[in-house]
Point group: C2
Chain length 401, copies 2
């Protein structure tokens, strides 16, 4: 038996970052992982500029009611002349401040008069309404680090320093296949004693969600030779092989002996619930992960083990999700020897005029055969080993991403 | 001025669900929105079955140490014969229970002996280790409703009832273009007074993240005619037009008069920060959303207004994110008349042996020109209108997903 933490630490220690990178345009880079730091060669903004439509002034020259000549007009994208003493410049949002001006008075506080413009007294504050050079990004700063997964705002930030292409890790290719005589594929006729294959579609969804490529070798005949041949093919085409089922102790499946014949396999009973059996090994030189066959266990172990493992190989720096500590909305009375990952939702409880309290609420049936629980849930919460939980105590909640 | 809630309610009241649906295979359906309910035509599991490798027995016949004949062996995918009285059946995980058996004893509690098998006393509990017919899904139940966005576990659940194709809404097409003489595109040479276009890439990232199609009409010359012609083209090819910038009061841009000439436009000052100016209207018959030009405001208003609007049109049922109420890790001393959406991270504070507390931590520079804040942040937190916040008080946090 391995504890959850031991199993995860071991697995991550075995994950080697892919060495394949590629340069791609930022408008196709969403979800990709940066393969190098991004350092800015310029200041953003590149110059002091106006936050408002208004007038660029020297604050120490301002007197209420005095009429100032408008000596120039500066729009965004143009460069003004140095501001003549005793005058003001019409200026628009984003336009560079003219040399000598230190403040912007917004147009709502200005009155057009013959020969120029006058201002109300409330509006004379030094440096007001000015955005400063390098305020967002200073030249030489690292704006994003190697290992970062690119979100829309990251793409905007990269664009803002004029960078058009980024070097990212090439998406991993994952191979899988299905074994098991008891399985029907969706669309096939119901047959007595058989059940529909759900893990194949769960896994395909997860792989697609991570932006990885899936090679699904389909249904493999339930013989040792066919299984070995599928594994060999998978090892040749993919960076990682993932299968579900066939790795329990005493299992009659051919996966175990086939992996052992072609490489090696460690079978673990992880002290967690759901999801006890987990297999990790190699087929030829390709990593192999065997998830439990039970769909809820497959779901949980994919989220908690396979995802961090794959993201590490994919080059992502932070792969283990951070929990949010929230109040349990339930009592947990029966301590268990295994760490339990329960399917939960968040609910906001409103109490009079006070701020609502966010509580973690349990799905009614935590049975490991009930895939409905993962569909109902917003995420997973942790019941630690050998523990009871009293309603209102803080527990660790992991969003279903 | 509109309050935030008024603006959002108005916008959502104008969003009409697309009428275009398509039937697609579940292995390509991740992220799509269901256009009809999914009702199960069968029970999952389809039969009582064993949760373990072990022995199917009649619990009331069990006596410690008594030797039972093994009358049959039932593997997953096969149907056994009714269980003869006084015998047990070898059974494997997932295999249907034979008629008459009501309990499974796991193999670890069985000992092979001459002529059969005997069991230890601790293992005789009625109905133990049996998964019941329809425990996950009962025949006739709606497993997923119209308007649901499909996640990996949803695809697994749909597969488990044998369904291969689902009817989803066709992804919306969004058109955008860029105006503004002050903008350079990434990759272009730095030019004095100009800044790089970041909103174009921010927007492209968001549209891609939502699984929508983007038609980017590129850079449009800064004239009224060119802007009208771009808007007309956009209205013809897209379901929604989104632009950034050019919609502030007093703005010199051509977008406002062009939209007004081709349809109509409402300009709102929303009582929120960042993100005050927001425009909503129609170009010919196509909805038009004008986000602020400031990148942080564009980010915030996309998340808070455009995303729920687009998801509603896309058919999603729940579009307004649910907050999590968490402790503020800061004091907010200056009440503002506008609702403020601050860029924040979550941090877990560890105090001795107690459970950690999750706190909401502010980015140091909440300036609306600082796109870095959105990159640093995990999400947004809300400072209500006219309010101060004391460290430790609960505030609403929205994950940046």
């Amino acid at each position: 038996m391995k504890t959850f933490d031991e199993a995860l630490a071991y697995l991550l220690s075995k994950a080697v970052v892919t060495s394949y990178t590629e340069e791609i345009e930022i408008n196709t880079a969403l979800g990709h992982i940066l393969a190098c730091d991004i350092v800015s060669e310029l200041n953003v903004p590149p110059h002091h500029n106006s936050m408002m439509d208004g007038y660029a002034v020297r604050a120490d020259e301002m007197v209420e009611g005095k009429v100032f000549t408008i000596s120039q007009s500066i729009t965004a994208g143009t460069i003004g002349k140095p501001l003549q003493r005793g005058t003001v410049a019409r200026i628009f949002t984003g336009a560079p401040m003219p040399m000598g001006a230190d403040s912007v008075i917004m147009q709502e506080e200005a009155t057009d008069v013959k020969g120029g413009v006058k201002f109300s007294a409330s509006s004379f504050r030094l440096k007001q309404n000015v955005r400063h050079i390098g305020e967002d990004i200073a030249k030489g700063n690292t704006i994003l680090s190697k290992g970062h997964a690119l979100r829309p705002q990251d793409l905007g930030l990269i664009a803002s320093i004029g960078v058009k292409k980024v070097t990212v890790y090439q998406p991993l290719t994952i191979a899988t296949f299905t074994t098991g005589d008891e399985l029907l594929e969706p669309g096939e006729q119901v047959e007595a004693g058989k059940i529909y294959n759900s893990n194949r579609y769960l896994l395909a969804g997860f792989i697609s969600q991570l932006g990885l490529k899936l090679i699904d070798l389909g249904r493999i005949p339930d013989t040792l030779d066919a299984t070995k041949s599928a594994l060999t093919q998978a090892a040749t085409v993919a960076d990682v092989i993932i299968t579900t089922g066939g790795v329990s102790v005493g299992d009659e499946d051919h996966i175990k002996p086939a992996v052992e014949a072609l490489g090696h396999l460690d079978l673990w009973k992880v002290k967690m619930k759901p999801g006890k059996p987990l297999a990790y090994g190699r087929v030829l030189d390709t990593p192999f992960i065997g998830l439990p066959g039970n769909p809820v266990s497959a779901f949980t172990t994919f989220c908690l083990f396979a995802r961090p493992y794959l993201l590490t190989m994919q080059g992502q720096a932070e792969v283990v999700p951070k929990p949010i500590w929230l109040k349990a909305g339930f009592d947990w009375k029966k301590p268990g020897v295994r760490r339990e990952f329960v399917r939960v939702r968040l609910e906001n409880q409103i109490q009079g005029n006070a701020s609502p309290t966010t509580e973690v609420v349990l799905y009614s049936n935590q049975g490991s055969g009930v895939l409905t629980s993962t569909v109902w849930a917003d995420g997973l919460a942790v019941i630690p080993e050998n523990s009871i939980i009293k309603k209102g105590e803080l527990i660790a909640y992991y969003s279903g991403r």
